[in-house]
């Protein structure tokens, strides 16, 4: 295997594994903040207990995020040295800013959340919960800025073979930053709230810690319902931006081989790259044109408009984009059922629904990963859209054997960490809030 392919696999694997944790953190820190706010207002010991329990869960998720995140801070130098040289003038700054503004904040105040309940005032503890929430979301801002600049670069000029910053705010708030950030954070809130709701559902099914589980289910499902529905709009907003700023990516998402006036939106299909055809295609006529331009007859550019060496492959972006949408629609359906059950006041007793919540746990993770795969594979062959090809971004001096060696180690070590991490989380949940609520590890 050649070193470029190995470098791609290694980045995909390490970044994809890391991306299991930050979205969970987004959602959990939000729910912790809600319960800390309730506790601050009502002095209800139950809210405090719920928050302390979730902090324990968060700590495990957080260290796995830290452990796998360190790798990515250095991955650009390790495997993508030419990328680093070419665009480091712009790409490095958000990574450094993430450290200065976000990592310190998250780490320091998580230290207080984990170890400091008895050492600081109630107000200071609430502020710590807020700053962990704020810090993790700020970290997301910087990393989405960096990644969005690769999608829709702005605020730069090319000089001497390097991209140089000309306007920081244009580079930071490039055309895709805001839609991508909102979409990603909403994905995280869906993930974290579903995990919290599923924990509560498990207790309710086991008839354990009922007093504890009911408010947890209520609050997390409320977040889940609101954000799942909101995500429909945010996803739409982001898709419209992609269609406008990276039309070949949208064409790949929809397997739109030829430009069409009144393009359909695919529901199902098996794209065949070689023959420029989609087998078993099912689509909603004119719906893509309608969604993007609010005009069922609007023209959408097809893949035929773009040179062969400047457009993405179709199968993976197509499949991952549509799976993500499918999962998003499932979340809305699950939310609507929850609304009905809430209104009938039967949410805590409906066993099949509680079981459904448990079974759903993998789904938001898959949705996050699919969205990320669609975004990044859909950006190919570019590392930075229309600026630098991925093939020209890899390190020149790292032999394929070295990358293969590190890749094997990453797979083994991450598998170990993943298995132990999940078993620890399950044990914490099984032990329940009574025994886990102590300070420290």
């Amino acid at each position: 295997m050649d070193s470029l392919l190995l470098a791609k696999i290694q980045f995909g694997f390490t970044a994809g594994f890391h991306f299991l944790f930050p979205p969970t953190t987004f959602g959990l820190t939000l729910i912790i903040l809600i319960f800390e706010s309730l506790y601050l207002k009502s002095k209800n010991e139950l809210s405090k207990k719920i928050s302390s329990f979730l902090v324990k869960i968060l700590a495990v998720v957080f260290v796995m995020g830290v452990a796998t995140g360190i790798v990515l801070e250095f991955a650009f130098g390790n495997n993508w040295a030419e990328y680093s040289r070419m665009v480091g003038d712009i790409f490095g700054a958000p990574l450094a800013a993430e450290g200065v503004f976000a990592f310190f904040l998250e780490s320091v105040f998580l230290g207080i959340l984990l170890f400091g309940r008895s050492k600081v005032s109630k107000k200071a503890y609430w502020w710590s919960a807020f700053l962990v929430f704020f810090g993790s979301h700020l970290s997301g801002v910087w990393i989405i800025i960096a990644n969005s600049w690769m999608q829709t670069p702005a605020g730069y000029k090319i000089e001497g073979g390097r991209a140089l910053l000309t306007n920081f705010f244009q580079a930071a708030f490039n055309p895709s930053t805001i839609p991508r950030y909102l979409h990603t954070v909403a994905g995280g809130w869906i993930t974290g709230s579903l995990v919290a709701a599923a924990i509560a559902a498990w207790y309710l099914r086991k008839k354990r810690h009922l007093e504890f589980a009911k408010p947890l289910l209520r609050v997390s499902l409320a977040v889940f319902i609101v954000v799942s529905i909101l995500q429909l709009g945010l996803g739409h907003y982001h898709s419209v931006q992609v269609a406008e700023t990276q039309p070949e990516k949208m064409a790949a998402f929809e397997a739109l081989w030829k430009t069409e006036d009144g393009a359909p939106m695919a529901i199902f299909g098996i794209p065949d790259e070689a023959n420029q055809k989609t087998y078993a295609y099912i689509g909603i006529p004119k719906f893509l044109s309608f969604l993007i331009h609010f005009d069922p007859n609007a023209r959408i550019l097809g893949l035929n408009e773009f040179p062969d060496d400047e457009k993405p492959r179709v199968l993976i972006p197509f499949a991952s984009y549509h799976l993500m949408i499918l999962f998003g629609l499932i979340f809305i359906l699950v939310s609507l059922i929850a609304i009905v059950l809430f209104m009938k006041k039967r949410i805590y007793e409906t066993q099949w629904y509680l079981k459904l919540l448990l079974l759903l746990i993998p789904l938001p993770y898959l949705a996050n990963e699919m969205g990320w795969v669609a975004a990044e594979v859909g950006r190919q062959p570019w590392a930075v859209y229309k600026v630098l090809k991925t093939a020209d971004a890899a390190s020149l001096t790292v032999p394929a054997g070295n990358i293969l060696f590190s890749l094997i180690l990453f797979v083994v070590v991450y598998a170990l960490i993943g298995v132990v991490g999940i078993s620890i989380l399950l044990r914490l949940i099984r032990k329940g809030p009574e025994e886990t609520v102590s300070e420290g590890y």
Binding site: V60, V63, M64, V66, A67, T68, G69, I70, V71, E73, F74, F76, G77, N78, A81, S84, R85, G88, D89, I90, F91, G92, A93, L95, A96, A97, G99, V100, F103, F104, L105, S107, V108, F109, L110, G111, I112, L114, F115, G116, K119, L164, L165, F168, S395, L396, T397, V398, F405, S406, L409, V413, I417, V420, G421, S423, I424, L428, G440, Y441
Partner: protein, 336 residues
């Protein structure tokens, strides 16, 4: 051009300051990790050591991440050359840091494999504590580079006398930082052992400082005339002198402060003899990466400076707050 150069000087110093912050802060938990079984014979003693660093180690490690990010942003070529060139050595550091990051949480929760995770914490602390100095020694003494600024050596190129001496000196400095912190922060037998260990390490520290001094005179030409370097040599020697005294009088707090001050001296020496180089080329000096040919644009350095000036005082403020909350000594609680 002049402002640009000023910004380049500033970023050379600021990256040094970030690495200094890392050495002082994460230094003590790297040291505690390496000496975990030496200072803590019983499980409850080790629990107390974990407690002494529990709330702070993660924030300490962010100094390294921020240093790496700042190097990327300010001197992308240096970041690219070092991390691709020293690939295998850095993978060892990365895997150490991965294991280390999860080890404390997993040690407490995954009780069946407590010993394994303790081992991960120890090895994951020891290897970076040793290898940071080796990596630094290489960029200071010089490595083979080509016209595209890329490293042309192998992993064995990195194992030369000067980098190895610097690696061992760095290890001693981290062990000193860890043992003086343990003496100042934990009570009982851990404190006693930490005091004894620190005295032993002091001898190794002094030995490798002398060896590093000699190696520098041999391998780095023209170093004698650098006045700033001599100033920091004097500072380091003074710090180690006062440290020796503090150790024999069991003044734990002072010993930790002096161990930290010695890091200021060491980083000062490195900065003074290395400036304006970032990665020196030993095949032909024109290939060296310097703050001039490896830096980002003036605008990026300016934006980054604003970010640092706004952000770092706040970071330092709440870091002090964190340490104040968790001040006081940790008692060894017998396990129930």
């Amino acid at each position: 051009m002049e402002t640009w150069d000023t910004l380049r000087y500033i970023w050379f110093v600021l990256i040094g300051v970030l690495l200094l912050g890392y050495s002082i802060l994460d230094g003590f938990d790297l040291g505690i990790g390496t000496l975990f079984r030496v200072l803590g014979k019983k499980a409850e003693e080790r629990d107390a050591m974990v407690k002494s660093i529990g709330p702070v180690w993660d924030g300490n490690e962010v100094w390294l991440l921020t240093g790496g990010g700042a190097l990327f942003a300010a001197f992308p070529h240096a970041y690219a050359t070092v991390f691709s060139g020293f690939y295998l050595a850095l993978m060892v550091v990365l895997f150490s840091l991965i294991f280390r990051a999860v080890s404390l949480e997993f040690r407490a929760q995954d009780t069946k494999r407590k010993g394994f995770w303790e081992g991960a914490f120890i090895v994951g602390s020891f290897l970076p504590a040793l290898l940071f100095g080796v990596a630094l020694g290489n960029v200071v003494v010089g490595v083979p580079l080509d016209t595209t600024m890329n490293y042309t050596g192998t992993i064995f190129t990195l194992l030369r006398p000067f980098p190895l001496v610097l690696g061992l000196l760095g290890l001693m400095a981290f062990l000193m930082q860890g043992s003086t912190y343990a003496a100042a922060k934990v009570e009982g037998l851990v404190q006693e052992r930490a005091r004894k260990t620190a005295k032993l390490i002091w001898n190794g520290y002094a030995l490798f400082l002398i060896l590093a001094f000699a190696a520098t005179l041999i391998y780095i030409p023209g170093v004698i005339t650098k006045v700033m370097a001599w100033f920091f040599v004097a500072l380091t020697i003074c710090a180690l002198g006062v440290l020796r005294n503090a150790l024999s009088k069991a003044k734990d707090g002072l010993a930790f402060m002096m161990s930290s001050l010695a890091f200021v001296g060491l980083w000062g020496i490195i900065g003074a003899i290395h400036f304006p180089n970032l990665v020196k080329a030993n095949n032909d000096p024109v290939f060296s990466l310097t703050i001039y040919n490896a830096s980002s644009s003036e605008l990026t350095l300016k934006v980054m400076l604003i970010i640092a000036l706004v952000g770092m005082p706040i970071v330092i403020g709440y870091t002090i707050y964190l340490y104040k909350i968790f001040k006081g000594k940790i008692q060894i609680e017998s396990s129930s």
